[in-house]
């Protein structure tokens, strides 16, 4: 892999919850403007891994971590780094749509800017419109911007959450099974959107859906029991996996 283009990478990353080790020596590099899919059976550490990448992991009461995460070469776990600033550069979309229940659709998208004080001297209306357009939601909600964010369908809520994340113009976006709670049509929209996002962002997506991983991603990481088993170009992983475990997983033998 061309080293110049690496946006984010993990170096010997280990993570624990209490005494239980959730991640073991993870080394992954993500190139700018690519999509990395992270696959693996439930409980293998996929979600934990992406939560270490924007320092959400440490919010769990017993969480511990060693190793490094480099964002453009800078270790985000350096004591001088403010986790809040990292989270503004590294956006996240969760498994279940979680719009702010007390806010309107408009305020949900604007929340990141308003509540971080980044909205000064900016045209909020324009940013909200642009973010919703990027999330392919604008046409559906443009007349209902004042309605509560929780009043729209689950698939729309998830695209609203994506709009909320991109309104802050992060550099990297992680999505934790963004379509697992959605119907096939809504999932297809989100998938299309993910591919679209690649133009401007570096994206990683956790998924249980093998077809989804092969459709959208450029690189695929297979994790099992907290370890990274195989990592490489999606084409190689799905057509000629080197590890037997990977092959058994993607052919549906276990998982």
């Amino acid at each position: 892999m061309d080293n110049n283009n690496i946006k984010m990478q993990s170096v010997d990353l280990n993570a624990w919850f209490g005494t239980k080790q959730a991640l073991k020596d993870i080394n992954i590099s993500m190139k700018a403007n690519t999509i990395t899919a992270i696959i693996g059976p439930s409980g293998c550490g996929k979600s934990t891994f992406i939560r270490t990448l924007n320092r959400m992991h440490e919010l769990a009461p017993t969480a511990k971590l060693t190793g490094q995460i480099l964002l453009e070469g800078q270790n985000i776990y350096d004591p001088n780094v403010d986790p809040v600033m990292i989270r503004r550069r590294v956006g996240m979309v969760f498994q279940k749509p979680n719009p702010f229940p007390t806010m309107s659709i408009y305020d949900n998208v604007a929340a990141g800017l308003k509540l971080t004080g980044a909205h000064k001297n900016k045209n909020l209306d324009e940013i909200v419109k642009h973010s919703l357009q990027q999330a392919t939601l604008w046409e559906e909600v443009k007349d209902d911007l004042k309605k509560p964010g929780t009043s729209i369908s689950g698939g729309q809520q998830q695209r609203l959450c994506i709009a909320r994340a991109i309104a802050l113009k992060p550099e990297v976006i992680f999505m934790d099974e963004p379509t697992s709670a959605l119907d096939p049509i809504a999932s297809a929209k989100i998938e299309k959107l993910v591919v679209e996002l690649k133009k401007n962002y570096t994206v990683a997506i956790v998924t249980h859906n093998m077809q989804q991983a092969s459709r959208v991603s450029d690189y695929t990481a297979f994790m099992y029991l907290g370890s990274l088993i195989e990592f490489g170009a999606t084409k190689d992983i799905f057509e000629s996996p080197k590890n037997q475990l990977t092959e058994r997983y993607i052919t549906g033998e276990f998982g």
Binding site: N54, M56, L59, P61, V84, M85, I86, R87, R88, R89, G91, M92, F94, K96, N98, P99, F100, P101, T102, M103, A111, G112, L115, T116, P148, T150, S151, C161, R164, A165, L168
Partner: protein, 285 residues
């Protein structure tokens, strides 16, 4: 096998009976709980209504008028809320958002004890600390401090509970946007918990509006309207207590009248706060 046997009809009818039995049991308990409440309301209205007239409600200078008592109760509610609500909410926020340590466990325990603390002891404490120790006079400030001791634990507890009811995913969504912890609490968590917060505050106000023991020793009572923050003041529960002990029929009727007014004040406050907080930004759970 016949269908009836397959469905096991005997146990089905037994189950149906049990279902009905528990429903009726719940209904009976509900009636037992509500009858005393309604009978008190009925009694207060029937006995208190004759006492009520304009002079009775607004007059002052005589024991027979409750104008100063109504004013005093409203002032005490205002002062106590000004002290108690901010402290109570901030305590609740600490317990819910930062309460993952042993200090918080202690605070929570002390808070729970304080909730059930005998209110006469709160009164004596405020009396010796403020009336005797600090200002040397009975005053609304002393009364408000005593009542705040009762209000704070209720507000703190309900704030903590309603913050904990907000799904963690909402907090995470905010943190993941790079919003600071305090901002998350203030602009995301507290609005989401608003319903519970308001219920707690209304409950606490209803409770302190009717408390007698803590004010008995701190405000003394007064037949005249507000005389300043450093002078004795009147309040409805105190007036009810004093008038009901009179041997004069008229004063007893006036105690009933004051009781009716107190109930109406609490009810009105309750309804007003709920109306004001309804409407826009209704939190959906």
């Amino acid at each position: 096998m016949p269908l009836s046997e397959k469905l096991n009809l005997h146990s089905y009818s037994l189950r149906k009976f049990k279902n009905k039995f528990f429903y009726v049991l719940c209904l009976i308990c509900l009636i037992i709980a509500i009858v005393p409440l309604l009978s008190i309301l009925f009694e207060v209205i029937v006995r208190g209504a004759p006492a009520i007239n304009w002079q009775f409600l607004t007059g002052n200078g005589l024991r027979n008028n409750i104008g100063p008592a109504i004013q005093g109760t409203l002032i005490l509610i205002g002062l106590t809320s000004a002290i108690g609500i901010p402290i109570g909410i901030l305590t609740g926020v600490y317990l819910a958002e930062y309460g993952n340590n042993k200090y918080a466990t202690w605070i929570r325990t002390i808070n729970d004890i304080l909730t059930g603390f005998p209110s006469i002891i709160v009164g004596i404490t405020a009396y010796s600390l403020i009336v005797v120790g600090l200002t040397g006079t009975f005053s609304p400030m002393a009364g408000a401090v005593a009542l705040a001791f009762i209000m704070i634990p209720i507000v703190a507890r309900t704030t903590e509970e309603s913050l904990k009811l907000v799904p963690n995913s909402v907090r995470e969504a905010s943190m993941a946007l790079g919003i600071h912890r305090w901002r998350t609490t203030l602009s995301v968590m507290l609005p989401s918990a608003k319903g519970g917060l308001i219920t707690g505050i209304v409950l606490a106000i209803a409770r302190i509006a009717g408390e007698t023991a803590p004010i008995l020793l701190t405000i003394l009572g007064n037949f005249y309207f507000f005389q300043g923050l450093n002078a004795p003041i009147d309040a409805l529960p105190l007036r009810i207590y004093l008038s009901s002990r009179s041997h004069l029929q008229i004063e007893q009727t006036q105690a009933w009248g004051a009781a009716l007014v107190l109930i109406l004040i609490v009810l009105t406050l309750n309804i007003c706060v709920r109306l004001a907080s309804r409407g826009r930004n209704k939190g959906t759970r």
